[in-house]
Symmetry: D3
Subunit: 132 residues, 6 copies
């Protein structure tokens, strides 16, 4: 199995609801350094799983919908805690939709899996892995 | 599948027994930067796999039993080489026991897997992965 | 010249005022991974510039006043842009005040310089260096 | 499941063929920081999956065949794009062959899997995972 | 003194001339992860040393003249070894020229110093520091 | 001013004497990831400050005297606390002596400064800087 990973980041504000969060119930924020990993069993005719340039552009595109926002104000997340692991799934699902629509090219239809990791600091990160 | 990872470290002394170890047969030591990763299929009612704060506290707790010690003197490891991979299993097993005892809360009973990685330098690390 | 550096982090919300900031004029947030570096010409009687444990506690203490907050609501920053470089100075000045008050011990009075670096992502950071 | 990972690097020149590569069709180069990960279910009599020292030597050996070369001139890669993911497979296959030949010792015959990751920058990497 | 640092990268081919270089006399290549650091004594009216967005764009611009090239074919470097430290100076000088031309705005005229670091691997890097 | 930095590591045991050290008074150990930085104003005839290969070999050589040892048993450190900052000075002084003896070549006599940084974990490090 092959995989290709590209990295970018977003900077957001949010608050979290529930006693478990302690001071994180207050409005605060995070930089998420985001890794998107695309996996598949076969190289395409160019010798690639996905082109790193195209994957970088796609990730930047998907992250632009989150970047420099207060997630508490986003309709997409109404009534949900925007935890790091939940946001990892959101990014993975949006990337998967775009891959399905052909945004990484025809050959990317052979991709098997996508994993998205959000690093919220040097000591904590969360990930979501799904089939394509 | 979701996962959450927290990082901490320990500083220990030990020696290793067997010709393969060369100079590492002498008493020396290591900083292990330790990553503990908890994985599961479902978010709990707070939108979490595990709370990062609680996971951080649990990891620190488990590592306190190893930290600032000469592992050659620890009864738990008598007659065993405290290799990086073996210590990764020890940390994973101790975390698993604590998760089973409810130390990460009720919802953590849905967790599927734990992976512990010990980085012994910028160029070498070892991991142990187990079911929960 | 010797120096000792300790690392911690804070997660804050804020917005920035001025056209140059583009989308960062919206309320958003950041994780700052914070390095505090203490420099001086002489080791103390324990063979230290500063004790890493005490420096870690002091940095955590100073960061607690910023952590999990919306900096737009903090009186300390009214009318100012909480840019990364400005926040680096704030942290450095607060650490310097505490060092002056003896919070790192008597020997720390020989310290010459403090440098604080705030990493806002894997590709951008800012620092402030001052005499003690 | 246990794993042990060692890191090294190579510096190569190459060009890539196909419109998708844009400016990377020109002769250019890369540093690949290479992680080789060996996995298996059981520790050997020394308490190891593989000895980190031996694994480091083996990886350096395998990388020496690539290091400081223009891959466009290597017969092994004639007619192929030396993409990051393809080179990850090449390194994994060559390591696997050497493990099979006993170069990591008898016990390494219990190894289950090898994964090789090539980091081409701080924001892009590729991997290949295979059974042993 | 304040400073702001932004990071980007280039991928180049080159060879080095002189016995000291051993196998690096062959045509090979490198990824340079490039840090550009701008320092100055005073914040501007926006509370900045330089805007991170503008600095990022300027660095990308300057690196585009090097990226995806065989430096052995570049007239700018004829008769010179394109060592990591020499390339750090080239990037610093080109950034300095652009700062002087006002490409980071008027306030950037107060900048005191620029430092450029080129990381050629996880274990080696070089830097050049100059006044502005 | 130019500089070149190379990285290596050592694994040692030791104990520290004095109440301030708390549990670190027990015999324990550390991995130090060691950065050695050589600075000077002029490139030599090969376009270098120091050859990265030679600097790497020299650093490995100097570290071999510390590696895989219990520093409490070393005569060189009798009656001293082997704090991270003190060990940084030891490494810097030993490198300086070797540079003075010509081990980095004739041109290295123009070097102005050496800085050694010892990273004891992902959250703490110490450095020593001296003239050459």
């Amino acid at each position: 199995m092959y995989s290709v990973n590209v990295r970018d980041h977003v900077m957001i504000a949010h608050s979290l609801h529930g006693e478990v969060f302690g001071p994180a119930q207050r409005l605060h924020g995070a930089t998420y350094v985001v890794d998107a990993s695309f996996s598949g069993p076969r190289l395409d005719d160019d010798g690639l799983i996905v082109d790193i340039g195209r994957a970088t552009t796609l990730l930047a595109d998907v992250l632009a919908r989150l970047n420099y926002r207060n997630l508490d104000d986003e309709d997409d997340f109404a009534g949900q805690n925007t935890s790091t692991e939940m946001l990892a799934r959101v990014v993975a699902d949006r990337l998967a939709e775009r891959v399905g629509a052909g945004d990484l090219g025809e050959a990317a239809r052979d991709l098997a899996r996508i994993t998205v990791t959000l690093h919220e600091s040097h000591v904590a990160w969360a990930a979501y892995e799904r089939a394509l």
